[in-house]
């Protein structure tokens, strides 16, 4: 029988903006599934409003954004602000894609929890989540 955690962490994963690079996000989604998370993949061309709305309906604890278009300095903060507007700042925002180091520091100040850039081993992403949500993760 499935060894499903009693309270699996739910993660809404999305590509925001005009950006068709979906290889990375799909690889990450699979890795998160394999680590025991419930991943809700919402697909390409999402707006910050759509992502937040999906996270609320899905009662997700985490939003994972994937951005390769260069628009990360607009889109990540837009999602953080939309969460504020919807009174849902408890939802953790993290992500990855093509994002320069300087921008990562700025985004963290704007409320993004973590960013993973190309070449990051998938295990590193999983380990980060495990540390962030230790109580809700299935014991291996």
């Amino acid at each position: 029988m499935a060894k499903v955690a009693a309270k699996p962490v739910r993660i809404v994963v999305a590509k925001v903006g005009l950006d068709g690079h979906d290889r990375g996000v799909k690889v990450v989604a699979r890795a998160l599934r394999d680590a025991g998370y419930e991943v809700i993949y919402t697909g390409l061309r999402q707006t910050p409003e759509m992502v937040v709305d999906a996270a609320l309906q899905e009662d997700a604890q985490v939003i994972g954004l994937s951005i390769h278009s260069g628009a990360h300095m607009t889109l990540f903060p837009a999602v953080v602000d939309e969460l504020k507007r919807r009174d849902a700042t408890d939802i953790v925002v993290f992500g990855g894609g093509i994002i320069p180091d300087d921008d990562i520091a700025a985004l963290k100040k704007r409320g993004v929890a973590e960013i993973f850039t190309p070449g990051t081993p998938l295990q590193e992403i999983v380990d980060w989540l495990r540390k962030r949500f230790p109580e809700q993760t299935r014991k291996p």
Binding site: K7, G43, L56, Q57
Partner: protein, 246 residues
């Protein structure tokens, strides 16, 4: 909306606290109409559900979708991807879409489905649409929960006949032969007719509706109307279970 989403999480987790909440909500709550879509993976269930949402919204109903996908038996994790096909309804406040992991429950739905439907009714939703896991073998549960069960088949799937053998024929209120833009759809319709003619006579002969779910808007009205009207509830869960037992 967040309260509803949270409540569904509690029933998914089988949290005892949810009883109280449900009792509190039950007063005055109506029970929504429930349509269920089942069929093998990739047959177009989510895309059909998307079209049916559009139809029901045009009629003025509020619509909630409970879309189930399997959890990995090895890790317990899941990728829940049905929502992708329904994104055009994303910011419609009268559409609520919830993806559920089956979390090891067999039968094609989440164990929490019935309670989630009750909650959706309490929160005022007129219609609920269920989408099953789509393994295609043991998913008869949907018929016991839904007023109308739509079984989705497609050409070139190879397993359409197998599905019928697995008891899916008995639970269908309506057959959607989706992807009717692809060669071979006429053969699926013919096969279905033959199967039905060989089966014992029943009071309800499920209509066979050819659909092209990807056609979107223009398709919505006719398709959904036939799927839901033709399959109007006509029997109780007990009758269905009786029939699937033998």
């Amino acid at each position: 909306m967040r309260a509803l989403a949270r409540a569904i999480t509690l029933v998914e987790r089988r949290d005892p606290g949810v009883r109280e909440l449900e009792e509190a909500l039950r007063t005055g709550a109506k029970s929504p109409g429930v349509a269920g879509f089942t069929g093998a993976p990739g047959t177009g269930k989510s895309t059909l559900v998307d079209a049916v949402i559009a139809f029901l919204r045009n009629q003025g109903s509020s619509v909630a979708v409970l879309a189930t996908d399997p959890n990995s038996p090895f890790t317990g994790g899941a990728i829940l991807g049905d929502r992708i096909r329904m994104q055009r309804h994303a910011l419609d406040g009268k559409v609520f879409i919830r993806s559920m992991g089956a979390r090891g429950h067999l039968g094609g739905l989440s164990l929490a489905t019935r309670e989630a439907i009750r909650l959706l009714g309490a929160f005022g939703f007129d219609q609920v649409i269920l989408e099953t896991v789509g393994v295609g073998q043991s998913e008869l549960e949907v018929a016991a929960v839904a007023d109308t069960t739509v079984v989705v088949l497609t050409p070139n799937l190879g397993d359409s006949v197998q599905m019928i053998k697995a008891g899916i024929l008995e639970i269908a209120d309506v057959f959607a032969v989706n992807k009717s833009d692809i060669d071979g759809h006429a053969r699926v319709v013919a096969e279905l007719r033959t199967m039905m003619n060989m089966a014992p006579k029943t009071p309800w002969r499920p209509p066979i509706v050819p659909t092209i779910a990807t056609r979107g808007d223009e398709e919505d009205a006719g398709l959904a109307e036939r799927l839901l009207r033709d399959g109007t509830p006509y029997r109780t869960a007990e009758e269905i279970l009786d029939r699937t037992d033998n």
